[in-house]
């Protein structure tokens, strides 16, 4: 699939980057903050979904503690930034801390396989969240000077750049030697080991990349919000959102998480406006229906649709 799919994926990468490039002109044309905030949310979600996709989609390790790394990135970046460190440096530091923590946790966690890994990481993430909530119970608000200087367009462009970075990173990984090694582990870890793939080292690489990117996304979140509870960035909803978007779109593909993030955010926001009180109920039910009807996500459904169309004339 990867050899045949490589050209296909490259076309998608160019298309997505062109779309992101076009979005760069949006703030010049539209001056409405609600539109920019909405697109910001989609861009942040693309980064988050893509970051989760690296470890789960390519290396096949369902990490349910992803929120912990998003939260660590947010916590470190925001703390440094409020103290006067330039935001890009602060975000890089946040990403470094997230990836370092992932490497510490990764070695024991990767002793677990499959569902056990999923459960273990979920528990780790949750323990970190409760601890942050207990130790830092107070809301974090920007100092008055920063609020006065707040520019939404700065956040918007940063989100745009980060989404592009995440897409480029996955595109580069998918075709590379280490990316192919990760996919071999996903398909069959023992067979990959037997053919000379260093499974643990590659899984740790995937985890570090994935969590570093999640840390960057978290830093952006910390930069974007005027005030929030520090533990909120550790909330498991970040993991679930990333997982849901990736699976709706198509796990282990370049464009799946992008499509999934767009559909997910548009659907959720639309339902929230349309069905204020019932939106989560409808969303949950709709979501179950999507999983049952399209088990492989949008990407596989589209492929199957094309297959049907191609077959019909011959039949």
């Amino acid at each position: 699939m990867s050899v045949l799919g490589a050209r296909h994926e490259r076309r998608w990468a160019i298309g997505i980057l062109a779309g992101l490039g076009a979005l760069a002109f949006l703030p010049l044309l539209v001056r409405r903050d609600d539109v920019l905030n909405f697109i910001f949310l989609i861009l942040l979600s693309i980064t988050l979904a893509q970051s989760w996709n690296i470890v789960a989609g390519y290396a096949g390790q369902v990490n349910l503690g992803h929120a912990a790394f998003f939260g660590l990135g947010a916590l470190v970046a925001r703390t440094l930034w409020i103290r006067g460190v330039p935001i890009l440096v602060a975000m890089a530091a946040g990403a470094a801390v997230a990836a370092a923590f992932a490497l510490v946790i990764g070695a024991p966690a990767f002793r677990l396989r499959g569902a056990y890994f999923a459960i273990g990481t979920l528990a780790l993430g949750e323990i970190l969240r409760t601890t942050v909530g207990n130790v830092l119970p107070e809301i974090s608000t920007l100092p008055a000077a920063s609020i006065a200087g707040y520019r939404l367009t700065h956040r918007y462009y940063l989100a745009l750049a980060l989404a592009a970075v995440s897409v480029l990173a996955v595109a580069a990984l998918a075709g590379s030697r280490i990316g192919l090694g990760m996919q071999a582990i996903r398909e069959d870890e023992d067979a990959a080991e037997a053919s000379g793939v260093g499974a643990l080292r590659l899984k740790l690489t995937a985890l570090a990349l994935s969590t570093g990117l999640a840390g960057l996304a978290g830093g952006l979140f910390g930069f974007y919000h005027i005030s929030y509870y520090p533990s909120h960035a550790f909330s498991p909803t970040w993991t679930f959102d990333a997982l849901l978007m990736t699976f709706i779109g198509g796990v282990g593909t370049l464009h799946g998480p992008v499509l999934g993030a767009i559909l997910y955010i548009v659907l959720k926001e639309y339902l929230a406006v349309q069905w204020v009180d019932f939106h989560l109920l409808i969303f949950g039910a709709l979501f179950i229906a999507i999983v049952l009807l399209l088990p492989g996500g949008l990407v596989q459904a589209a492929a199957r649709g094309r297959g049907l169309l191609a077959r019909r004339p011959r039949a």
């Binding site: 459960i119 601890t131 498991p236 009180d277 019932f278 979501f287 179950i288 999983v291």
Partner: protein, 289 residues
């Protein structure tokens, strides 16, 4: 020292409920290879069911189990027929992923439904004898929680007997061991799945009832209970209900001791350390096979 002993007793009593909550999850996971992350929401529903049974009929809270158990057994059958029955048709690898997705969707929907129907307020079942306390050598032991612990242990015992003595219990265990071999020896694997899922849901309902009696329920308790149950499942490993119960007691005791030693805010950190140590030392859990 007395404070520590007091904390330990309360921790063990909560741990018994962790064990009961984990038993249902462990059964479903072990047999169907399906990870139901909405298990905590099922516990929450059980808690509300018990609350309303007691409020509307005036039954004794422990007697409400007689109604809540069959109801949640039925809910389990419905959920299996409507949702999880589709998941088990997939290959084992995709099963876990699909069940995670469906579980999240279900958890989201049930939480939203509970908030709509019953508001976000915390509720607990209050009884005339609820405040009674046993005093043993300077320690106070709430009577209700002793009863809860005893009942949780009794339920685990009944489950253990069902799984080891009953025909279908043995079929469930055979399916958990190797479903293909079970199928070849004439076991209706689908029915074993259905039974295991229904039993797991009934256990969640029972755990919810006990949570509503001894502690409190609100629509948002689901995730917390799912996580505690998951930790216990990993700690204890699959394959033994008694082991799962002991795993629950271990977690409850560990939380109590660490809250005492390091102070409330850091109690989960010690949990983390224990968790990681067990994972490294025994990836299949303390009692796993």
């Amino acid at each position: 020292m007395r404070i520590l002993a007091q904390q330990l007793i309360l921790g063990l009593m909560l741990g018994g409920l962790y064990g009961l909550a984990a038993a249902g999850l462990s059964l479903v996971f072990g047999v169907l290879k399906v990870l139901n992350v909405a298990h905590g929401e099922l516990i929450m529903l059980g808690g509300y069911a018990a609350f309303f049974v007691v409020a509307l009929s005036g039954l004794d809270p422990f007697a409400s189990l007689l109604l809540v158990l069959p109801l949640s057994l039925l809910l389990g059958v419905v959920l299996y027929a409507g949702l999880f029955g589709f998941v088990v048709r997939a290959h084992e690898e995709t099963r876990v992923k699909n069940s995670l997705l469906i579980g999240f969707g279900l958890a989201l929907a049930l939480h939203a439904l509970a908030v709509r129907l019953w508001t976000a307020d915390e509720r607990s079942i209050i009884t005339p004898y609820g405040g009674s306390v046993l005093r043993v050598g300077g320690l106070s032991i709430p009577l209700m929680r002793v009863l809860i612990l005893a009942l949780a242990l009794a339920l685990i015992g009944i489950l253990h007997v069902l799984l080891t003595r009953w025909r279908w219990g043995k079929a469930i265990r055979a399916t958990a061991e190797d479903w293909e071999a079970a199928l070849l020896s004439g076991i209706d694997v689908r029915r074993a799945y259905l039974l295991a899922f229904a039993l797991g849901t009934a256990l969640a309902g029972a755990a919810g009832t006990l949570v509503a009696i001894g502690y409190s329920v609100s629509p948002s308790i689901g995730l917390e209970w799912t996580l505690k149950a998951l930790i216990v499942v990993v700690l204890a490993g699959l394959g033994s209900m008694i082991g799962t119960f002991v795993g629950g007691l271990v977690l409850g005791a560990a939380e109590a001791v660490s809250a005492y030693t390091f102070g409330g805010p850091y109690r989960e950190v010690v949990g983390l350390v224990i968790f990681v140590i067990v994972l490294v030392a025994r990836p299949r859990g303390l009692f796993g096979r």
